[in-house]
């Protein structure tokens, strides 16, 4: 038991902090800090800067740009990135399909995709959920039927985040409809979004944003070489992919940054001539979220410090559940601090409402998603009850 970081890790943390706050352009970090949506160019520019410095995919195998860091180093890397308001490497690339190809792909696929994936030369999107396959993902119905050297894909995906920017999609498809267990007949295919027969339809969200899409496939021909891993083993790869980033999903650094902003906003709003920050109830509310966040961060540290043997610490399932709740608590706090200003979401020039108050409610509404995606919190409770408590 020891609290302090070793001098080496202390230096590592400083190195990360310096890099993120000096090498990533101010306007990109300002946009993230302002909680505004980043343009495609912003994501690409930031990831290429990280990749050039070897900091985009440190968790990948070394031969494909990984760093062979300890879980604790990866944790520090991620936390410092979030605290500096640096957009994280695109999750679909860096955390999802990249590690799957690196682990299960063949040599040709690795060479073809991994460097371009790390550098965001290919923007990937995720073809997992379907209208009737949400938390029950294995019920997916999109099919791929073998025809000569091609797979022919038909069906529909949904919740495809940032699909409008995507060059390629990685897609779970049913290749054996006769398999005894529905998990057994699924394969993982990758193909370009501009393939004939692919149609993308935006879904507008309650915050007015265009973040997710429906994707339709009509006789899309995918060369057989675009199958990742083995046929009908797609479910294993999906589980690997989804389990890969349990730790990062706590998003402690990002919530910390938002909470620090909330404190600042509470000083700017006055109630009967006194700063809202001095209201004991508001101060207590902020302090309680802050303490919950500390408890989460410490749990994340416990998990990373104890998972060196590759097996996730049991407490890791707490991270997604509580991490999402605290992200939501922080966005809710900002809306409450904004008070009546929180309705001015789409104010433009000529409004005196500060920008943070304009984005507050859309973000709060948008963040309802975080307890739903990546395995809903009810799925997390099922995991805890089943695998940890044995219920």
């Amino acid at each position: 038991m020891r609290l302090q970081l070793s001098p080496e890790l202390e230096a590592f943390r400083e190195e990360m902090r310096t890099f993120f706050t000096t090498e990533v352009p101010r306007e990109i970090r300002d946009t993230v800090a302002a909680r505004r949506h980043l343009s495609k160019d912003g994501y690409v520019q930031a990831q290429r800067i990280l990749n050039a410095a070897g900091l985009a995919v440190p968790h990948w195998p070394v031969e494909w740009g990984g760093k062979d860091w300890t879980p604790l180093q990866r944790h520090i890397w991620r936390e410092e990135m979030q605290l500096a308001c640096v957009p994280e490497p695109l999750a679909f690339n860096a955390s999802m399909i990249g590690p799957v190809i690196a682990t299960f792909g063949n040599q040709e696929q690795k060479e073809r995709f991994l460097p371009a994936t790390a550098n965001l030369d290919i923007w990937w999107c995720q073809g997992f959920s379907e209208p009737d396959a949400g938390s029950d993902l294995a019920s997916l119905r999109t099919t791929a039927v073998r025809d000569g050297d091609d797979w022919v894909v038909n069906g529909q995906k949904t919740w495809t985040t940032l699909g409008q920017h995507a060059d390629w999609i990685f897609c779970l498809v049913r290749t054996d409809p006769t398999a005894e267990k529905k998990q057994r007949g699924i394969s993982l295919l990758v193909f370009p979004m501009d393939s004939p027969g692919v149609t993308l339809r935006p879904i507008e969200l309650i915050d007015g944003s265009h973040e997710v899409n429906e994707v339709f496939f009509e006789d899309v021909r995918v060369p057989a070489e675009n199958l990742i891993g083995e046929e009908n083993r797609g479910w294993d790869y999906a589980k690997f992919l989804l389990g890969n980033e349990r730790v990062g999903i706590a998003r402690v650094g990002s919530t910390k940054r938002l909470l620090a902003q909330a404190k600042q906003h509470a000083r700017e709003i006055t109630v009967d001539g006194r700063p809202l920050a001095e209201d004991p109830r508001m101060a207590a509310r902020i302090a309680e979220v802050e303490n919950e966040l500390l408890a989460l961060e410490l749990t994340a540290l416990r998990v990373v410090a104890n998972s060196a043997d590759g097996k996730p610490h049991p407490a890791s399932s707490v991270l997604k559940l509580r991490g999402s709740e605290l992200q939501q608590a922080a966005t809710e706090l900002v809306v409450d601090i904004a008070g009546p200003l929180s309705v001015a979401s789409f104010a433009d020039g000529g409004s005196d409402v500060p920008d943070w108050a304009r984005v507050a409610t859309p973000e709060y509404l948008n963040y309802r998603k975080v307890s739903i995606y990546g395995g809903s919190n009810e799925v997390q409770r099922t995991i805890i009850a089943g695998t940890i408590l044995g219920l």
């Binding site: 038991m1 020891r2 970081l5 101060a283 303490n291 500390l294 410490l298 044995g390």
Partner: protein, 383 residues
């Protein structure tokens, strides 16, 4: 940064767990022990002394083991796991801690070695009726006549106050709050003991011109030292609560797997298993915070704030888990012959002895604007 216990710490835990399992593995034994004064088992107390645990954090020159807050945390957690009624935190961390913090060398030699040997049971007389969780004294005053001191006023509740061989008493002096030692057989000392709801013992203690010995040499204000030792005790209590919550959750999960209603075991009802999952979340978040607070103490960081943070987290978790453990059991959870309700009772006591969650939150809220973010690995938690 390392959240793992070393092999000696593992051994300590295993040895103590074995001892306590023999003493209280059967919860009926605990019920028998707490039914009679002094509310704990003198033989188990002697065994803890033989293992060196009653002198765990004291220096070797004063009869101790020279161990740190992590070892104290391990012992407290094991105590909590079986609800051992032996007053480890009260005697060693709190009373011993005050003596170690302000006592003269002679006082430390005498009192700390007595505590470590198990021959002297100390009690801290600090709480006063009608006040809560202050580090200073208000109702008991100290008067000096030449070189000798007398105390006047009432302290209550004083844990183990009737059984104690010596009392460590806080009292008002000109400079603020000073600490005194009062012998159990002192003149003008009236102690009225009673049971507490969690099976412990407390007392109403009246000082009526009672002769007392100043703890330490200076008559300066000791509020800061009291605050620091209270913080150490809050952290130790946090670990005791973790041990208790852990057992309450395990017991509840086991019950859900075996108890049948409507023809199926209760774990078939998602309404129940989800609530058990939430208990696990509360427990692990509290555990992380308590472990961190012990490491802050070990590192010489801001132990007072760290203790408040652990206090808040364990208070919330203790209430959540304590209440749910009973509810998920149903009626048997409120019976005295079943264990889980006793855990809830103890957790409730631990929540109120040295400051509850809202009290800790109010203190944290006062300081919330003093930092942009909390860095658990940085200033002021590491030096």
């Amino acid at each position: 940064m390392d959240f793992t216990f070393d092999s000696e710490q593992h051994d300590l835990r295993e040895a103590l767990r074995g001892l306590l399992e023999r003493a209280y593995g059967d919860s009926e034994q605990r019920r028998r022990v707490v039914a009679n004064d002094p509310g704990y088992d003198e033989k188990t107390w002697s065994r803890l002394a033989e293992m060196g645990l009653l002198g765990l954090p004291f220096t070797e020159e004063h009869g101790g083991m020279g161990a740190g807050p992590i070892e104290v945390a391990i012992v407290a957690e094991e105590i909590g796991r079986v609800l051992a009624p032996e007053p480890f935190v009260e005697a060693v961390v709190l009373a011993g801690g005050l003596v170690a913090a302000v006592g003269t060398d002679a006082q430390k030699s005498e009192l700390l070695s007595g505590i470590a040997e198990g021959s002297t049971l100390p009690a801290v007389a600090h709480a006063e009726p009608g006040t809560r969780w202050s580090p200073s004294a208000a109702a008991v005053t100290a008067a000096q006549d030449g070189g000798s001191w007398t105390l006047t006023g009432v302290k209550e509740p004083v844990l183990n106050g009737a059984r104690a061989d010596v009392l460590v008493v806080s009292a008002v002096v000109e400079s603020g709050t000073a600490l005194f030692v009062v012998r159990g057989d002192a003149d003008g000392l009236t102690r009225t003991g009673y049971r507490t709801h969690d099976g412990g013992r407390a007392a109403h203690v009246r000082f009526d011109g009672t002769p007392a010995e100043l703890l330490g040499e200076s008559t300066g204000d000791r509020t800061a030292e009291v605050e620091r030792v209270l913080a150490e005790a809050r952290i130790a209590y946090a670990h005791e609560a973790i041990g208790s919550m852990d057992t309450a959750l395990r017991t509840t999960a086991e019950y859900l797997k075996t108890r049948k209603q409507f023809g199926v075991t209760l774990n078939r009802f998602q309404a129940l298993t989800f609530r058990a999952a939430d208990m696990y979340v509360s427990l692990e978040l509290a555990r992380s915070t308590a472990l961190w607070a012990s490491m802050v103490s070990d590192a010489g960081g801001d132990v007072v704030t760290a203790a408040d943070r652990a206090r808040l987290q364990t208070s919330r978790a203790g209430r959540h888990i304590g209440k749910e453990a009973i509810q998920l059991h149903g009626g048997i959870g409120v019976t005295a012959e079943y264990t889980v309700g006793h855990h809830t009772s103890r957790l409730t006591a631990l929540d109120h002895l040295l400051g509850d969650g809202d009290w800790a939150l109010a203190r944290l809220a006062e300081g919330v604007d003093g930092h942009e973010t909390v860095d658990p690995l940085g200033v002021p938690y590491t030096r």
